[in-house]
């Protein structure tokens, strides 16, 4: 009887474990209040889409650098940011290396929304892990903390990252 109960619980446990594993891969995200960003008010819908599109950009970045596939950037990056990341992908491909970025935590703060609504700037204190591989062989891993500054601009369907630059945690533009 006990064995039958245990057997019936196995599929449920597997689903739970899979969900847990999926959840573990998702970064934890903290978002600062956008109520007094200025000069333009950040509408609720914009707040949601800006965070969603920025976090998706990290996934695109991760995919592009892990697979050395610059086209993976197109969905989330544009302009200078896209060009620079594509350069890194090209460098990596030339060297025969891949890097796996796994963002673990984001602490987001929107700091500027331009008066005409054409650019929004955010700071992200992010923690991530990097794996370096050469021809598939793991060469090293590292845990990093940095402060990313991103400027996003609206496109037809979503916000895309136009400027993407990490700053040292101890240096700020204040």
């Amino acid at each position: 009887m006990a064995t039958r109960i245990l057997k019936s619980l196995v599929p449920a446990f597997l689903v739970f474990a899979a969900l847990l594993a999926l959840g573990a891969d998702k970064p934890s995200v903290r978002i600062g209040s956008m109520d007094s960003v200025g000069p333009r008010t950040v509408e609720k819908q914009t707040q949601t889409s800006i965070v969603r599109d920025y976090l998706q950009a990290w996934q695109s970045l991760s995919r592009a650098l892990a697979q050395n596939h610059a086209a993976a950037l197109d969905d989330s990056f544009t302009g200078i940011a896209r060009d620079k990341l594509a350069d890194a992908v090209r460098d990596q491909a030339n060297l025969g290396i891949q890097t796996h970025y796994r963002d673990r935590t984001h602490n987001l703060q929107v700091i500027f929304y331009s008066p005409e609504g054409l650019s929004i700037q955010l700071l992200d204190n992010v923690e991530y892990d990097i794996e370096l591989r050469e021809k598939g062989k793991l060469l090293g891993t590292q845990h990093a903390s940095s402060r990313y500054m991103a400027v996003l601009t609206p496109t037809e369907s979503k916000w895309k990252v136009r400027i993407f630059e990490a700053q040292p945690l101890d240096v700020s533009g204040h």
């Binding site: 990341l85 890194a88 890097t99 970025y101 590292q142 630059e165 700053q167 533009g173």
Partner: protein, 289 residues
């Protein structure tokens, strides 16, 4: 003895601030984009040094115990970098940051709108992102001067300090219509945008009537805004004639600053003129049919 200890502590803390190090690598904690720097390796034997960041990737064969020199062409892009050193028995890593240069080289200047009425408070916005020669956003505060000038009028100038790479402001449009130069300057870099300032809404509207047989010819005075600028041709002026409980209306676009039309001249008819939210004078016809 106490002084020596304090000095030692100061030296130790200063070195830990300025150098990112692991057991095998000593790297300056901060490197300016496009400047040469060195990474000192420890140990012995051959190894490979990898420098990776989201914008650059480098690989160098190194001899442990020697320093590895990087030239001004090697790392241009500001960001957080990881250095991995991998040798026969060694695998180590460190991190460092590449900072933008402090010298502005390009400005991304967004001026909006490209066309607006005169005398509009806060009607013009200017946003400037400041980049160095490698297109890194310069996050250190920079003075940005904005200047809005129209011919035959005193320019408006303001200086704004950038914050996290961006400087912005709002300005009033000038009282004189015409082409305005909107200029942003940071360091030796200047960007210019053109803004067309057009006359505002008509301020005052007056028509004259000249009866001729069974028709009355109507013509406005030149239509101007409250600053004396001619309202653009094409602006619609509406003439309305009310007679015996009936109303007839004619919409006429301004041509060379005035609107002209003809209406039937009914004796006792009341003719009024309007454009936008401005009502002009009324004329009651004394002659006509």
């Amino acid at each position: 003895m106490r002084g020596l200890r304090t000095l030692l502590l100061v030296v130790l803390s200063a070195s830990s601030l300025s150098v990112a190090q692991s057991s095998s690598l000593r790297i300056p904690a901060h490197v300016e984009a496009g400047t040469p720097f060195e990474i000192q390796t420890q140990g012995s034997g051959a190894a490979v040094l990898y420098i990776i960041g989201p914008s650059d990737a480098l690989r160098r064969n190194v001899q442990l115990g020697e320093s590895v020199a990087f030239g001004s062409d090697d790392l241009h892009n500001a960001g957080h970098y990881s250095a991995f050193i991998v040798g026969g028995s060694i695998s180590d890593s460190a991190q460092f940051d590449v900072l933008p240069s402090h010298q502005p080289a390009t400005l991304s200047f967004l001026a909006k709108p490209s066309r607006l009425p005169v005398d509009l408070s806060g009607g013009i916005s200017g946003v400037v992102y400041i980049f160095d020669v490698f297109k890194n956003l310069i996050i250190q505060p920079q003075e940005v001067s904005f200047r809005l000038s129209v011919s035959d009028a005193a320019p408006q100038s303001r200086t704004v300090t950038s914050h996290e790479g961006v400087a912005w402001l709002k300005m009033n449009s000038a009282s004189r219509a015409g082409v305005a130069n909107f200029q942003a300057t940071a360091g030796n870099v200047e960007e210019r945008r053109i803004i067309q300032q057009v006359a505002g809404n008509p301020c005052r509207l007056r028509m004259n009537a000249r009866e001729s047989g069974d028709r009355v010819a109507l013509e406005t005075d030149p239509v101007r805004d409250c600053s004396g600028n001619a309202v653009p041709d094409g602006t619609i002026v509406t003439f309305t004639e009310t007679y015996a409980g009936n109303q007839s209306t004619v919409d006429v676009p301004l041509k060379r600053g005035v609107a002209k039309t003809e209406l039937p001249a009914h004796k006792g008819a009341l003719i009024s003129v309007a454009t936008g939210v401005v009502l002009g004078n009324e004329i009651r016809l004394s002659g006509g049919q």
